[in-house]
Symmetry: D2
Subunit: 280 residues, 4 copies
């Protein structure tokens, strides 16, 4: 068996599937857990590779830690999505974090991840600082009360910008989000594949965030199982000082086993040919 | 039509082929030039993708400029291989370089590249500083006379370590190479794909260089058309100071349109999970 | 390199391509000649496999000989399409045939076939009985004068029934064709792949022919390189007696090296599960 | 997800997988049941497609009925293999059959078929005439007592002729089988794919049977989901009269919904180009 993954609508990769671990449909999405000979346990949602045991650490450390280190003292953190639990795991490595609210719409998928991909959450769901809410993030916006210091967006990537999912990366969405934030809050979100011509998602997300926040920065990291780089955008009303962020990371007690604290700054030094496509 | 590329012996990618530009067999290798919808003109040797118009700049800038900027004042440069002419192109951007000897075994392939992929060499073959020698690099070792300041290894990647090609990355080979070098010379070579389990080539090359030189450093860059990162090793008897190299690059008049001089240092900041595989 | 062929819009086959022989674009179609390790020289038009050296004999014998043997004494034969020349080759094996008019719109493709696939026509283009006309078959309908005894339709298969190509299999088309025919004429045409759900083309062609002729019969033959069976429809105002046809074939001096005269009747004995899909 | 199937070691097909129904490993083989958009439920063993809901009827009717109709009055029938139960289903359609012994080594696979592919056996396992023995067919040879009138070989196809599986098609094997047979017994077995160059299996099986029986005949049928024709060999010490067999089929009350009794004779009329490869 093979798992099919398309790239830029022109190239197709057939990944080896050693074993199907689980497959199912929730009201929100189709999920598949399989064993890949090199990547280990692999999670796919709606036919797109989501995360692999061998390098999800790279993806999640890059998603979480820049935002947390851009902030001087993050205590309250919100995760939008993040069903696998690895985003929570990374946030909770910061002992200064007192409360981490994770809002994911798909309870059945969260359960499946705990069962079939337990190394992603690595106990995060049992941490007393974690508050898991199974609900639509849009509904959560109405009930949230504590202002958040950091928000991490780990929502599904947009395959079709005319679908409802696109709303999760719109200006309106970030506008509503902003009402829950402390003034010096930092927001980071995944922003799609970073390919020679696939930065559409990144540019849309960046533009939406730029409408609500004074400062935005793009960065990326190589995720081998994704066949290239993945991108992120971080945003804040406070200037985003990469050097300061890196210094905090290097002097922190937080371990970044997959990327290494000393390499966080380099995520912001993208080759120009690639960076250029992000700003178009 | 599609071009088939295997990854770690388990996954297979079928790249779109808009048009076959040229296909041929020389005494040394089979070559194919085709047009890809995203990558543009693409060169494959013996069934492996070699270089694409859209991102060969990233590959070649990463191959050439760190070595040239690690050296304080490179005047004589040797290219081992480099048939497409892009390695020469990058070296000749340095106005301080007085002489660049390029030794490639396959004259027919060099001709094919000039004809079907002229943007790779961009006139480098007409630069009076370039001396092109169509011969086995092993034979050239016997006749070379000027001590070289920098050597760039752009030889074909090793698919099978029991084949003769492996000799081009052996200790004996670098031992012989060393006799042609100035005492402060810097050598850099491509060292294979940088995947979660494909660093075998990198480790072998690094080990061979470490046997002949006091200092070696690994680095990599994302090459989107290769589906991930490509790796390099740089070696010298003089310490390799990345900060100093980066400073020289940033203050130099040499343009690095694909990577950007300001991003050269970041090539050495590989995610630990990946760096670890290089040092095993 | 690989040649990609889709089946029922859900499955995809990647055929090995040992060598690209020729590729080109005429005003009418894109053609590709390549060497396949098992099928030999292979011809593709607009991305669809058309014919392979190893089994085109099966395809063409099945297309031509039933119609010619259903007729008691065919002298004047018309080929609609048939650019490769193999349909002409089969017709001209019948020494009773005095004149064979072949009308193909694409002179450049006919030339390419003569050059790169000469075993298809095997000298047929030099036979004095062959009259080759490079023109639209619709225009030929206006100028044809001799009534034809047999007509063989070897026109391109319809990929999209809303495209102009569909007109070549319409009721209007066969209505016009009928004006060129002798009263006891027999018409046979290729009618698409014969798969579990791909008989749409067959059914449309059969229905169009049934509107103009009193008798129609479906048949098929396995063409290994097509990955299954190919189908045909034969039509006439005279009853189509398979037994009589088979007897003529077996007592004829015409050699059918690929199928064998003794096996022609069996082409009409399709498994019911497949035959059923043709009549829906 | 996709199911990968290779053809003649050079071409590869990726079948659509709508849903994985079940996957498992028995002591004897790996099995996979999946849903294909066109073929319906599909069974694969050790990575090779075995049988599909949409056309297993064609495969199994071709396997079973010629042998049963070559025999004037079959009462005792032996199935070697046949785990899915469809071979038994076809045999039991003959009301004259009094006893059908089915010997399959893999009880877990038989159970899986009953559970996940019940339309294959369609109640055959509950027919009082069926005796199911889960054991090695070689061991059964020692204990069988009633002389059989017909034997149907539905054992796994040989992928590697140096593996133990090859023994199931050897001269020694048929020699031992013959001791269990009535003098006028008829034996039929599947004999591999019938492709332009894949008739190796067929030729080996035919040769082994020809060493033990006076008469052998090859035949085949198109199985669309297999991408072409599948072949069989029938053998007996009594002459195999195809016309007589066909007449019995046509006058019998046994329904052949997939092939049709009137089409059984045509299975023996293979195109010469294909038949030739069987006799080499």
């Amino acid at each position: 068996m093979r798992f099919e993954q398309w790239f830029h609508g022109t190239d197709v990769m057939y990944h080896a599937v050693d074993r199907v671990i689980a497959e199912g449909k929730t009201p929100w999405q189709h999920y598949l857990f399989f064993e890949h000979p090199v990547f280990g346990v692999t999670i796919a949602i709606d036919g797109d590779m989501q995360s692999c045991q061998a390098d999800e650490g790279i993806y999640h450390e890059a998603l979480v830690h820049p935002a947390l280190f851009f902030h001087p003292n993050p205590k309250n953190v919100l995760i939008m999505g993040g069903g696998e639990g690895a985003t929570a795991r990374e946030i909770l490595r910061h002992s200064g974090v007192e409360r981490c609210v994770m809002v994911d719409i798909d309870g059945a998928f969260v359960e499946a991840c705990r069962k079939y991909a337990p190394t992603w959450s690595e106990g995060a769901f049992d941490d007393p600082r974690l508050v898991l809410k199974i609900m639509d993030i849009n509904d959560y916006f109405d009930e949230a009360q504590i202002p958040f210091d950091v928000v991490i967006g780990d929502l599904v990537d947009v395959a079709d910008w005319s679908s409802p999912v696109a709303g999760l990366y719109s200006e309106t969405f970030y506008d509503r989000l902003k009402k829950l934030l402390a003034p010096d809050a930092v927001v980071a979100t995944q922003a799609g594949a970073l390919d020679l011509n696939e930065a559409i998602n990144h540019r849309k997300v960046r533009r939406s965030l730029a409408a609500s926040f004074e400062h935005v920065a793009s960065y990326g990291v190589v995720v081998p199982s994704f066949g290239g780089m993945w991108s992120y955008v971080v945003a804040s009303d406070v200037p985003l000082d990469v050097e300061e962020m890196a210094k905090r990371a290097e002097t922190s007690a937080v371990m970044l086993p997959a990327i290494g604290a000393e390499n966080l700054a380099a995520l912001f030094a993208l080759p120009r040919r690639i960076a250029r496509s992000l700003e178009k």
